[in-house]
Amino acid sequence: MGLLAGVLALGPALGPGYVLRYDMVFVPDPSLGTVLRGADGFPRAVPSDAAVAALSAVLPGDVVQSVALLAVFTVGGAGAARLVSRVLCRGGRIGALLASAAAGAAYVWNPFVAERLLLGQWAMLLGYAGLPWVVGATARLAVVRPAAGFAGLVRALLPAAVGGFSSVVLSALTAGPVALVRPRGEGAAVRRGSSRPAPRQRSEDAEAGRAPSGPAPARPPVSGVAHGLSEPVERAEPSGHAMEEAQASGVPREFSGSHGGAAPSASATGEDPGAGVARTPAASGGRWWTRAGLFALALVTVSLPWLLPALTSGADTDPSGVEAFAARSDTPFGVVGSLLLLGGVWNSGAVPPGYGEPVTATARLLLCLVSLAGWVWWSRRDRPGFGPGLSVAAVLGLLISLLGVTEPGRELLVRLISAWPGFGPLRDGQLYVAPLALVQALGLGACVWWLTGRRAAAASGSDGAGTPWRVGLAVFVVFLPVVVLPGLLWGAGGRLAPVRYPEEWLAAQEAVAADDRPGTVLVLPWSAYRGPDWSGRPVVVLDPATKLFDRRALWNDDLVVGTPDGGTVVVAGEDARAREVARVLGSDPRTGLPERLDAVTLGGLGVRYVAVSAPVDNQFWSGVEGLSVVVEGEDMTLLRVQDQHVKPDKAGIPGLEVTGGLVTVGAIIWSVARSGSSLVFQCSGPSAGPGARKEIPK
């Protein structure tokens, strides 16, 4: 479903060429070394740009972009669908299938995804796509050994690790409460003592992060891995003989040990040196502080590539961004209503076409309300283990997103950001409705499950098809997210269209790459965003020249945001060196161009090349001594500063960042290697029926 949604949403964007829009800039042959060397300020492009550069070494850049964009839909859709299927797998087959499809579709086809995609924030969306996986892995911390739970969590955090700062923040917000909030039934399970769920039920509970339930088994299961969330019962691992016997009898390995799913049991993977050792709740990560500790450790582990540079950067965050990036109303229902509908992005240019129309907005509102009702019904009925935590996360996220809307909230944010720049991401309020998007997606899945007649199916033991009209209606509901948000279709109505870089751009890139002498590239006009004519249709995009060259680029990272009254708010950038260049250049704020370039001054700043990435008058550089033209075209002019003027800095790759990156990559490889069994991807559907369940003989 996610793949289908991705193809429908991206459409032409998957074709040859590069999709450029706002923050989304992909270039041919990006330089990994340049990304790692970075710039002053917070490392916002790490590690997403580093991952793109690494992949571009083996794949064409436009293919890498298509894969990245498609991964958002595929990973996100699959994650939400899987989360639903794990809990609803006891229902009918068709009902669970349609419920999963509905959840997957709703999770990747909503205003949040559309607006962030149109804002070009693909890396953040990658982290968003991983949220259901992170929630599932966090819930499993309660039922598996700490090492296995940690490995599963690191694997689930892989999209967030690639996405970078915003992605990890979103993961912390969404799954943090899941780790902290005590699942309902946890205490009851402890108190019940001998009232243990049946093996299959317990396995499903473990997989879904659900509080243990169900009747006591006729005979005790062999495995002790899939016990309740904090059941104080010591159980032995299955012996090697039992495992062999189980496999020989055709029992799937995942049912013979932990029903770990993405977090396989250590015994099944053969990695657990403690196999055969009794386990206590504390050993299985059942205590909330154990879960919280593991969760925090996993977050820090995947954050090291950007966390260490950020902590040592000494950069500041401009509090004026609080007002500029606060959520705004993009529907007739005000800011609160817009956020409830998962819209409300600060940039009016990122709203999908036709989204705010009363008809479609009202339909969208109804769908949201129904989805929320479905979530409440489902979380009360099935009590998924992650339910309370996810509900808390959704409410908390909505409150954070509303902070910038009210005057006291803005004051609070300004104080926080002034006190510590690390609070800077709170400026972008709409970002934090992501947990609510997951809640709504799962709620819609529950609605579809109810719609397919799950009660009748459960009573009759049928496949859950219910009556055909119910199935037809359920299929219609599965596609409802698309129906009420048609503006995302086919590259958001052509807004996401690939373009090819002009020849002069590629020639400039090649010329700079051929020069091994050090020195930076100054990008003019002194403004971050462009509306390149060669992009086919007017589109605002971060100047691709800032990422085109295999050396440090100096560009104006100030962000200018237009206000409804026609004015502008300037959010100061973070690159200290860029501020120094700005003082020296003295550019005209209307044109972004200096009155005259001076080769000696430029060379003194360490500038070896000047890239003029817009069609402008050449009077500010024509005839300047010490500058030579390397490439000259309509949209790109590359000037070289004579060698005797250049005083380049010796910029290397900081060892701290490299170390952090290696630790993260190593942890991810370890977590994937640890999962090296067929348990990673299991059949999510139910078994053929209760009678078909197999248990390992004692």
């Binding site: 706002y22 068709i94 804002l119 500029a324 705004r328 600060w346 940039n347 009016s348 240019g349 990122a350 076409p353 036709g354 989204y355 129309e357 008809v359 479609t360 339909a363 098809a465 055909p468 009209w469 119910r470 199935v471 037809g472 209606l473 359920a474 299929v475 219609f476 599965v478 596609f479 409802l480 698309v482 129906v483 009420v484 048609p486 503006g487 279709l489 109505g493 006009p525 403004s527 971050a528 965003y529 462009r530 509306g531 007017p538 589109v539 605002v540 962000l559 200018v560 945001v561 237009g562 206000t563 409804p564 502008t568 959010v571 209307r590 044109t591 972004g592 817009a614 402008v616």
Partner: protein
Amino acid sequence: MIKVIAACVVGAALAGGATFVATSVATESTATAEPVNETLYNYGDR
């Protein structure tokens, strides 16, 4: 089973038709004004 498949097809067709109608509504009402031929561009406008 045939009835179920037919119901799925009908449901999907209905959704397709509704999407077409919604797209028409959205397209007719869309009046985007993306900036063109400016010297400098904002990061975006609220």
